[in-house]
């Protein structure tokens, strides 16, 4: 079993759902990113690193701002490789890489996944790639022994669920809302229906993301049947406000503990 799947098992054996914090690489600065990331990873089951992209059309204002700030400091693919490598030397928590497809294509699919796997990445999340649009991507990630994670949304039809899970080896990233990333006070009720429809088609773990902001939303996700929760914007918002993002993660942990 891959390190990514094992992380879900381990969390479950500890009476929780998997905690998956996200930070944009290089935000607020390359060095401070490493400090925050390490602190969060220590209290998490998986850790998601974002490779910033100039046009993040799946992201809300908070992650947009973080991406712009990282890019303005010259954080590009090579720098993210370096940051990932340094991070992976200091933590055993499996690292995921989230990025839009264009930086992958510009670097070369095979080389991109191979280099990130060597740097210590265990899985990839690609929010703007319906996997059947370019099957070579999932294949190249698999050859580099990276787990693949694709998104499904409340609007996804049963046919799309079948197609997308067919390319997934890590977990299903269930988007809680029709919308972009961003912390919310409540998740829509329909998320339960999506998780049930996904679970009817696959044995893969399902993590809920978009809108997870603290204990209440994490609990809602667990009640909806999630095996894990992803939290990103709420952490970055805490950093922006000069607060400790681990407090947000701890609140999410309380909600995700049974």
């Amino acid at each position: 079993m891959s390190a990514v799947r094992e992380a879900f098992e381990r969390a479950r054996s500890e009476g929780r759902r998997a905690l998956i914090p996200y930070l944009t690489a290089g935000y607020p600065s390359p060095e401070r990113f490493l400090d925050y990331a390490l602190g969060l990873a220590e209290e998490a089951d998986l850790f998601e690193v974002g490779l910033p992209f100039s046009d993040p059309l799946g992201d809300g204002p908070v992650i947009q701002r973080a991406s712009e700030r990282a890019l303005a400091q010259g954080v590009r693919t090579k720098k993210v490789l370096e940051l990932v490598e340094r991070l992976s030397h200091k933590t055993d928590v499996p690292l995921l890489l989230m990025t839009y497809i264009n930086p992958v294509l510009a670097y070369g699919k095979e080389r991109f996944f191979r280099d990130f796997a060597e740097a210590g990445i265990k899985g990839v999340v690609l929010p703007d790639l319906p996997p059947d649009e370019d099957p070579e991507v999932a294949r190249a990630a698999g050859e580099a022994e990276l787990a693949t994670v694709f998104l499904l949304a409340p609007t996804s039809t049963d046919r799309r669920i079948e197609v997308v899970t067919g390319y997934t080896t890590g977990f299903v990233y269930a988007v809680s809302v029709t919308g972009v990333t961003g912390a919310r006070d409540r998740l829509p009720e329909e998320i339960g229906a999506l998780v049930r429809r996904v679970k009817a088609k696959t044995e893969l773990p399902v993590a809920i993301g978009f809108g997870i902001s603290g204990e209440a939303t994490a609990r809602q996700a667990v009640e909806a049947g999630a095996d894990g929760v992803v939290v990103g914007s709420a952490l970055i918002r805490a950093i922006e406000a000069g607060e400790d993002p681990r407090e947000v993660l701890r609140a999410v942990r309380r909600g995700a503990t049974l």
């Binding site: 059309l57 590009r76 930086p103 510009a106 609007t155």
Partner: protein, 406 residues
Amino acid sequence: MEGFRFLDFPVPDERGRFGPYGGRYVPETLIPALEELEAAYEEARRDPEFLATYRRYLKDYAGRPTPLYFAERLTEELGGAKVYLKREDLAHTGAHKINNTLGQALLARRMGKRRVIAETGAGQHGVSVATVAAMFGLEAVIYMGEEDVRRQALNVFRMELLGAKVVPVSSGTKTLKDATNEAIRDWVTNVRTTFYILGSVVGPHPYPRMVRDFQSVIGQEIKAALLEKEGREVPDAILACVGGGSNAIGAFAPFAYEEPRPRLIGVEAAGEGLDSGHHAASIAAGKRGVLHGSYMYLLQDEDGQIAPAHSVSAGLDYPGVGPEHSYLADLSTVEYAAVTDEEALEGFKLLSRTEGIIPALESAHAVAYAAKVVPAMDRDEIVVINISGRGDKDVAEVKRILEERS
């Protein structure tokens, strides 16, 4: 001619690919909406009633067919081929954009969507969407970069006068690229109730196909008018400016896939020069990649980050070019050239002075390149320049630039 027809073109394929280009690189949330849109469009284009309604609005509302005008003094001045102008500047709202917005608004109405959204750069597409939304009684929200809101205050007022809500976009470069990101984010969020009226032959499938089909009225009318005036449908060359590429594809498509084929020349914006790094010439100086849901030629750095575009003409100020153009460039079916801001300003003045027609700065790029190729052609040859829009919107900006220089 009985009017516009939905033509069958050999591309895209069922997956929305023009060769390797196009496709659907969007968040999964939108895939069902794109499938629904594709099915609705497919059904509409086979429905004689939809066709009749669309033709009626093209004629009575947009004022089509637009004239194919023999530019006698420009022909004399250039001293080569006979020059005709396709007068899209005379269509309602002053540009070719209305061909597409009418088609998509009719489709939105047919799909029962009461809210439409759009991106706009200089505001031409935004005004066009606001116009048809007013006419059909739809709610319209237009995303526009903060930088463009400032530069194009008059168009913002126009859209508001027409009842649309204009949302300034402050992310990224604060221009068309970022306005498009924001429109897509709105669509992801409100996909169940909202129709996204995309303004060019870019974006995820089926947009590049659908916008091309609606805009192909331009090429279809060129054929009919030339037959009447010159006894033949096919000219020797057609020139059009290319940003995202909708006016060009509309003029070219009815000619591009059959023989005999005229020289088809797409003119990109070379801005301050292709070597300056400040231009919008995605084909001449870009690399392939994905932006706004489609695989196409793009301006980007070596890490795949999208590079800002530059052109004196806001309508060409976009860092990508539609997938069909990317495909036709690889096949060499269409020649792509690029002219600088400086040359475009000369084209702007040339057409104003010789024909009493002030073209949009976008269209002035096509005029400027025509001034280079026409003199070398024979007098019995025929050239058509697509005047995609009128230049009233640009007069203040051109005045400012010319005064700055003197």
